[in-house]
Amino acid sequence: MSEIPLPQTAKRVVPWWLLRHETMLAVILLLALIVLGGLNSRFLTLDNLLNQGRLTTEVGLIALPMTFIIITGGIDLSVGSIVGLCAILLGYSWKNFGFPLPLAICFSLLVGAAAGLLNGIVITRVKVPPLIMTIATLALYRGLAEGISQARSVRGYPEWFYFIGQENLFGVPAQLWLLLIAIVVSAIVLDRTTFGRTLYAIGNNETAARFSGLPVDRVKLIIYTLSGLMAGLSACVLVSRVTTTRSDMGIGYELDVIAAVVLGGTSIFGGVGTIWGTVVGLAMIQLLKNGLALTGVKGDATIVVIGAVLILSTLVASSLQRRRDGV
């Protein structure tokens, strides 16, 4: 820090926009597509790519509000458990309370939002650090899912319910429309609204944001609630796709979600990040999984790669950041 900043004459070897995280990532993504396509003829087919979109929706829906949360310098580790809890309550309220399925879906979305709201309330009112609060509810929500379901699964939903998870709409997987709408809305909110600017302000300097009169606590409450709601939505899509509910659903989602967000250039320290970055990050993670699967690597080994990608991308991002700051 004590070093004198480099004078303007220091030569830039590469233009600045090439060094932007999203650009680099998009280039890597293209290269990966070409290499994987060359390795396996089944990879670069429209069918396969659309199917990958189907599979990424559940994680993608959660990654959008997670981008908001990480931009504010927070984190939500409980999302996977909320998916489990909502999935269980969807099945349980339908089967055991006799709710009509549409009502059961609303109920599970409501529970997701409530679970997120509880995170938000304790984080903003009691000032429990988000990391700790969501580790606690990671245990609590998964525990409720296990306790309520008693490890029993629910299946046999009506046929129409499988539409969102398994059918196509205008030739594109139905749930992908949901994700696309969510992406566009999130991008507009983050980029073009006061709400979005507030998120960056909180992430850059929360105290300053507070003293500038920004509604810091209300904004945080909203994004954690949103995170829970989207996890609930993700649970409904997941149940519709796999046709059953089990209490272990969504285990490990927090890894995929956080890896996609961080890989997409959102700084884990807050203040920096875009929805487009997250979208490219999501695509990278899903292609990685698919590419590895096609080359015969088993599912368990792919999480090794995702874990390594998470650590390495944070390393690269933070060293780039340090260079930009002239340290």
Binding site: V122, A136, A139, G147, A151, A259, I311
Partner: protein
């Protein structure tokens, strides 16, 4: 002026000791009170066999929670420890089955534990990547690696001499319980009275002040993680040797149980405060609750929810208490 003196008393070691003592006393009362209450409802709970099973089967959690407490006191977190314990147990068991000397099999778990955790500590301390990112990544590397290498196969036909957990000292004291008590006392004394032990509190309490006192923050963090890895290795040995088989998968959510023990034991999640005596008592309490559920005819599937509530209540109480002490 008032705020200044109040802030001063908070740092006063005597005052802090009193607060901590109360947390530990509270836990001890809870452990005994719960035993009596459940015993009244169902006397079979108090059978010597059950109580010793509870202690024996969960001593490894208390041992791992000692290391976790140090990590949290230093202001960090580790969610990879559950996966690491699974990996270390498998390494040790594989060596033992393939004819390596038993002592080598035991040592391998300890050494590998120290290496993995020291590496994580170094990435956190020197490359300044948040602990949650590093350990979340490592969690999936270890978990995925273990299942893909072993294919989830169980290790059986372990040599008899491998079973550390079977040893009974003086014919009465089972080794896991002995180790749990020994590790807790040594770690508590070391953290309280040695300079390097105090450094953990300093780094967790106020990193800048610690630096000005000449304490190297990165070095302290690497040391804490290395020690944590050692305790994880010891925990893995107890875990691996208590049954006749080692399930070569990661025990699900083990890290959550260990973190719960540390936090409920009074280790402040804001860093800088807490003792390992509390975390060991909390580990015993959690194991006792899990066993009690069965005896009061509640499904054991509720245990994770109980753990979640316990962490939540302790964390909120800790923060409210700090706020009151700060005179806010």
């Amino acid at each position: 002026m008032t705020t200044l003196t109040l802030a001063g008393t908070e740092a006063d070691p005597r005052r802090r000791l009193k607060v901590l003592a109360s947390q530990e006393a509270l836990l001890a009362i809870a452990v005994i009170g719960l035993a009596i209450a459940v015993g009244l409802y169902n006397p079979r709970f108090l059978a010597a066999r059950n109580l010793s099973d509870v202690l024996l089967g969960n001593a490894y959690i208390a041992v791992a929670a000692v290391g976790m407490s140090m990590v949290i006191v230093s202001g960090n977190i580790d969610i990879s420890v559950g996966a690491l314990i699974g990996v270390l147990a498998t390494i040790s068991g594989t060596l033992a089955v393939n004819g390596a000397p038993i002592v080598v099999a035991w040592l391998a778990a300890l050494v590998a534990g120290v290496l993995v955790m020291a590496l994580q500590g170094a990435i956190i301390a020197y490359l300044r990547i948040p602990a949650i990112v590093v350990t979340l990544g490592m969690l999936s590397i270890l978990k995925g690696g273990l299942i893909s290498v072993t294919g989830g196969k169980w290790i059986t036909d372990l040599p008899d001499s491998f079973h550390l957990a079977d040893i009974e000292l003086f014919g009465v004291l089972p080794f896991p319980v002995f180790l749990m008590i020994l590790v807790t006392i040594l770690a508590a004394l070391w953290m309280r009275y040695s300079a390097s032990g105090r450094a953990i509190y300093a780094v967790g309490g106020n990193a800048e002040a610690a630096r000005l006192c000449g304490i190297s923050q990165p070095r302290t963090i690497v040391m804490v993680f290395a020690l944590h890895g050692f305790f994880a290795g010891a925990a893995a040995l107890l875990y691996a040797t208590q049954l006749r088989v080692i399930q070569s998968t990661v025990p699900p959510n083990l890290e959550l149980t260990i973190i719960t023990a540390s936090v409920v034991g009074g280790v402040s999640i804001l860093g800088g405060v807490g003792t390992v005596i509390g975390s060991t008592l909390a580990a015993v309490l959690i194991a006792e609750i899990a066993s009690a559920l069965v005896f009061i005819d509640v499904s054991p599937y509720w245990i994770r929810a109980v753990q979640g509530v316990l962490i939540l209540v302790t964390v909120i109480a800790d923060i409210l208490r700090r706020r009151r002490m700060a005179g806010a």
